[in-house]
């Protein structure tokens, strides 16, 4: 019996550490191998050079797609917030028939496999003449990120103490003043948290972007994807590192502004 206990403890301990290492390792490996002097991907890297970063910076396809991804993520985030926050408010604060159904509908994009959605969306956008446009991509990414906004803002709004609204009104605040001076400042962490989810989801998305952006508009992950399919060299490592850096930068920036405690 004692042997089995010890074995179990050891086994679960090993598994746990393997998992932590396994999750942390890949990004580190990508970053490390981007500095390798070799022309093929090796790990551990041999030598040290920044040449691949130069190559990436000078590569028009990669830089253009980086710009596109960033712009797309920002626009989609802003729109998703503008559309999703009132919807979340409606669900949380008001009672109306069909509330549960609406809630399910707003969270539906998370449930539908993106591959499935992508094709249908492609067809619809083609009908609308938006198939290869920035607007089409934006629409797709708004649909993609809307559930995150709704879920995060709904959680924030549920925690909001409504007696603060009443106190503000009893102190002569008009509804617009209540929103501006009480509601928004207190909801700010939630808004920032939702923004992070949206940005990161949009920036990193491949599936939707791959289906919708053949031809002119290629986002960074899709660019990496197509490049890898044909050949791979450390330029990809450098570009992937860029993705990691941008993602982490956004998260850290928001954490500095809002406090990680309030987001997790």
């Amino acid at each position: 019996m004692l042997g089995r206990q010890a074995f179990l403890r050891a086994a679960t301990g090993i598994v746990r550490w393997c998992v932590y290492v396994g999750l942390a390792l890949p990004p580190l490996i990508v970053v490390a191998s981007s500095f390798s002097r070799t022309t093929f991907l090796t790990f551990p890297p041999k030598g040290f050079t920044l040449a691949w970063y130069w190559r990436a910076a000078q590569s028009q396809p990669f830089m253009q797609s980086l710009l596109l991804s960033t712009e797309l993520a920002i626009v989609a985030t802003v729109l998703a917030l503008l559309v999703g926050t009132p919807a979340a408010a409606a669900i949380v604060r008001r009672r109306f028939p069909g509330r549960e159904a609406v809630q399910a509908a707003l969270l539906a994009p998370m449930v539908v496999p993106l591959v499935v959605l992508a094709i249908g969306l492609l067809q619809v956008l083609t009908w609308l003449g938006l198939a290869q446009t920035f607007a089409g991509l934006v629409i797709a990414h708004v649909v993609l990120t809307l559930p995150y906004v709704v879920r995060t803002m709904a959680a924030s709004l549920m925690l909001f103490d409504r007696s603060l609204e009443e106190a503000a009104m009893s102190l002569r605040a008009r509804p617009s003043q209540v929103i501006r001076r009480v509601l928004l400042p207190i909801l700010l962490p939630g808004v920032l948290s939702a923004s992070v989810f949206c940005f990161v989801t949009s920036f990193g998305n491949i599936t939707l972007s791959a289906f919708l952006a053949r031809g002119g508009l290629v986002t960074l992950p899709v660019q990496i994807f197509t490049y890898v399919e044909h050949s791979y060299d450390p330029v990809l490592a450098a570009v992937s590192t860029l993705v990691i850096v941008v993602t982490l930068a956004v998260i850290l920036l928001v954490e500095r502004l809002a406090g990680l405690d309030r987001m997790l």
Partner: protein
């Protein structure tokens, strides 16, 4: 009553129903300038709904609300001249103490210099001047409440509304805050309505108490009126302790009544203001202090058996069995020392103080 009321706050026929449920049933009340009125009652009696109707957070189903001669029942809360202190204070967590107090002043567009002066004045009044730049989460419960008060009073409202102001504080703090609030309101001659379920708080603070039960007003009166002359069983039982004895009137005299209880005891009691006839059913409201150990020529002398005794420091309270009915007695400590449960003692009931209620078949 019609026409523009002269009282600061006037409620006429105020009512609220949610579908078939009646929360408040036609309440009318006039509150004079500087008066402290308490809405008192158990959970669900409608007192908070009434307060929130005055504040504007609940729209009345019927009735009028007048504040300083203006009808406000249809007006949104931010246009009413009331200040409200919420049960959990509702201090804005993202603003400092000073900014909290200034909040309403900013909304009405008061210029900065004047605003700062008013904020300093209010903070000095509640003795929190040196905490002006702290955040609400750094303050104790008592301090938070004082900020909430200062914030509401900064606008110099016509009426101050308090929602269970002391229920979040522990008992010692509660008593101290009670006195502070009382003296502050008195000093400002602030017309105040507050809501509570704590009858001691009501008795200590209010000029007049409105006792409510299930949406209806049971009785309105000063604390001593409510205590000494309750007009219904509910009020009698809700305020203070009492023993209720059902009895029948056997004789009506000039100043007194003779009644016989269902247990066969005959009592002589003060005649109530309402008309009573022989043979009518009544209820005698006997407070524990109306019952004393018998001596000499006291009226209403009875024999009872002690069921239990509780020592409360300055008082002792005893449960007695008198002719099959339970009676509560309260005496100063030491009066009945040595009396054991099971012992028989002689007691007397003061004829002048118990109140006699004419029982309404509806109740």
């Amino acid at each position: 009553m019609t026409g523009i009321p002269r009282s600061v706050l006037s409620l006429r026929g105020l009512a609220k129903s949610y579908g078939a449920t009646v929360a408040v049933e036609s309440l009318s009340l006039e509150v004079a300038r500087g008066e402290l009125v308490c809405l008192l009652g158990p959970s669900g009696c409608g007192k908070t709904t009434t307060l929130r109707m005055v504040a504007g957070f609940v729209s009345p189903t019927a009735g009028e609300i007048w504040i300083e001669g203006k009808p406000v029942a249809r007006e949104p809360p931010h246009q009413r001249d009331v200040g409200m202190v919420f049960q959990h204070y509702a201090l804005f967590p993202h603003l400092s103490v000073a900014d909290n107090v200034a909040f309403g002043l900013v909304n009405i567009g008061m210029p900065r210099a004047e605003r700062q002066a008013r904020v300093s004045e209010m903070l000095a009044m509640v003795e929190l001047a040196d905490l002006a730049h702290r955040m609400p989460r750094e303050l104790s419960g008592g301090q938070q409440q004082r900020v909430a008060l200062a914030r509401a009073l900064a606008l110099r409202p016509a009426v101050l509304l308090l929602d269970e102001p002391l229920s979040n504080l522990d008992s010692r703090l509660r008593i101290r805050m009670r006195e502070e609030i009382h003296s502050l309101i008195r000093r400002l001659e602030m017309t105040t309505v507050f809501v509570t379920h704590d009858q001691e708080e009501a008795m200590a603070l209010a000029d007049r108490i409105v006792v409510m039960h299930r949406g209806r007003v049971e009785q309105v009166g000063s604390p001593d009126q409510i205590y000494e002359a309750p007009t219904s069983r509910f009020v009698a039982e809700f305020i203070g302790l009492c023993s209720l004895l059902e009895a029948t009137v056997t004789d009506v005299r000039a100043d007194t009544l003779v009644v016989q209880t269902s247990g066969g005891v005959t009592l002589v009691l003060r005649r109530p203001a309402v008309r009573v006839t022989q043979g009518e059913s009544v209820v005698a409201v006997i407070r524990p202090e109306h019952v004393t150990p018998a001596s000499g020529g006291l009226a209403n002398q009875l024999t009872g058996r002690v069921l239990s005794s509780t020592y409360l420091g300055s008082l002792s309270r005893h449960r007695l069995l008198v002719s099959g009915e339970e009676l509560l007695m309260e005496c100063h400590a030491g009066t009945l020392s040595g009396v054991r449960p099971g012992a028989d003692i002689k007691i007397a009931i003061d004829p002048a103080r118990p109140c006699v209620l004419v029982t309404d078949p509806r109740r």
